[in-house]
Amino acid sequence: MTLKDVVEKLGLRVMTVKAALDPELTGAYAGDLLSDVMANARPGNLWITMQTHQNVLAVAQIKDLAAIVLVNGRKPDAETLQKADQENVTVLGTDEPAFRISGQLYRLLGEP
């Protein structure tokens, strides 16, 4: 399933301007501790988090993640979003909590 399919099915907000929505998802990973995400997320994963510190961009790049989904209506500051666009990191958002988004994604993507 592509990122675009998931964005449409879950009604996610696309927060970055230059969002590449074509990647095929390899699954998803949920976590707010960046050390843990760096250790355990896999390339092509959709990353579910409430962490908005600018370091999320570097983690998404290092791990080659498909996109970041910020839950609970969290918003990064303007500078972080600008940087995300410069570095081609797609940032999505939802008002739903991590549990609900994870559950919906699990139903769509199944066991990785």
């Binding site: 707010d32 501790l33 960046l34 050390s35 843990d36 995400v37 760096m38 962490q51 510190h53 600018q54 370091n55 570097a58 983690v59």
Partner: protein
């Protein structure tokens, strides 16, 4: 003239809910002094309400207390703030209190005891000091520096509440003065593991009396002040860390 100062920059008092009740400012000062500590940083969680008592208890005892605080950022990163004067720590405390939601539950988290220099209990802090502020790490460091303080990322080797556990790595645009390692790791191991671009200090993070001074940073400086420690961290004018 430069001489070496033994510093334990990170000690909690009985104001921290997780600290032992015996950690009164007077008791800490007495013990630190008997262990040969020259510079003592008092850093309670999100509060500086016991720093005045520690400063007063240390007066005339050849031990220099740096008033400070261990702040919890919105990302749940612990950051140490250290100052020359209690007023500066209290000014930071005002900012922190405006951004610290919640009320303490003594049964669950522990008592938050306010004490004076004579070991008398003055009262109990009611705020949720163990909680996180709504201030991000960038705002915290900015606030500390605007009050001429030192901003140090606490116990970066710990798996919880550390800059590295929460944010994965040290953000390159965060103007910290130093990184602190906990007693759980040796400075050599920390250098290998983190190859830090910032100076490393080590302190006790003491929550009970027998932990005070168990790890120290030795500074070669002229006097016990923030300005001198800053110079040592940046290896200026012959000042340095001698470990």
């Amino acid at each position: 003239m430069l001489r070496s100062f033994q510093a334990d920059l990170h000690v909690h008092t009985c104001l921290s809910p997780c600290a032992d009740i015996n950690m009164s400012p007077a008791a800490i000062v007495k013990r630190a002094q008997s262990l040969g500590v020259d510079i003592l940083g008092i850093c309670d969680h999100n509060s500086a309400e016991n720093v005045l008592a520690a400063v007063a208890a240390a007066r005339g005892h050849g031990l220099h207390v740096l008033p400070g605080m261990e702040l919890t950022s919105a990302e749940e990163v612990h950051i140490l703030a250290l100052f020359d004067k209690p007023e500066l720590a209290q000014a930071l405390q005002e900012i922190v209190y405006r951004h610290l939601p919640g009320k303490n539950d003594e049964e669950i988290f522990g008592m938050q005891v306010l004490a004076n220099a004579d070991d008398e209990v003055l009262g109990f802090n009611q705020k949720l000091l163990i909680g996180a502020t709504t201030l991000g790490v960038d705002e915290i460091v900015k606030n500390i520096h605007s009050l001429q303080g030192l901003a140090i990322a606490a116990h970066i080797d710990r798996e919880s509440f550390s800059l590295i556990s929460q944010l994965g790595f040290v953000p390159d645009n965060l103007p910290l003065d130093a990184l602190e390692i906990s007693p759980a790791i040796s400075p050599e191991e920390a250098l290998r593991r983190y190859a830090p671009a910032l100076p490393l200090v080590q302190s006790s993070d003491a929550h009970q009396q027998d932990e005070i001074g168990r790890r120290r940073t030795v500074f070669l400086i002229e006097e016990a002040s923030i300005a001198e420690i800053k110079k040592a961290l940046q290896q200026q004018e012959g000042r340095r860390i001698v470990h």
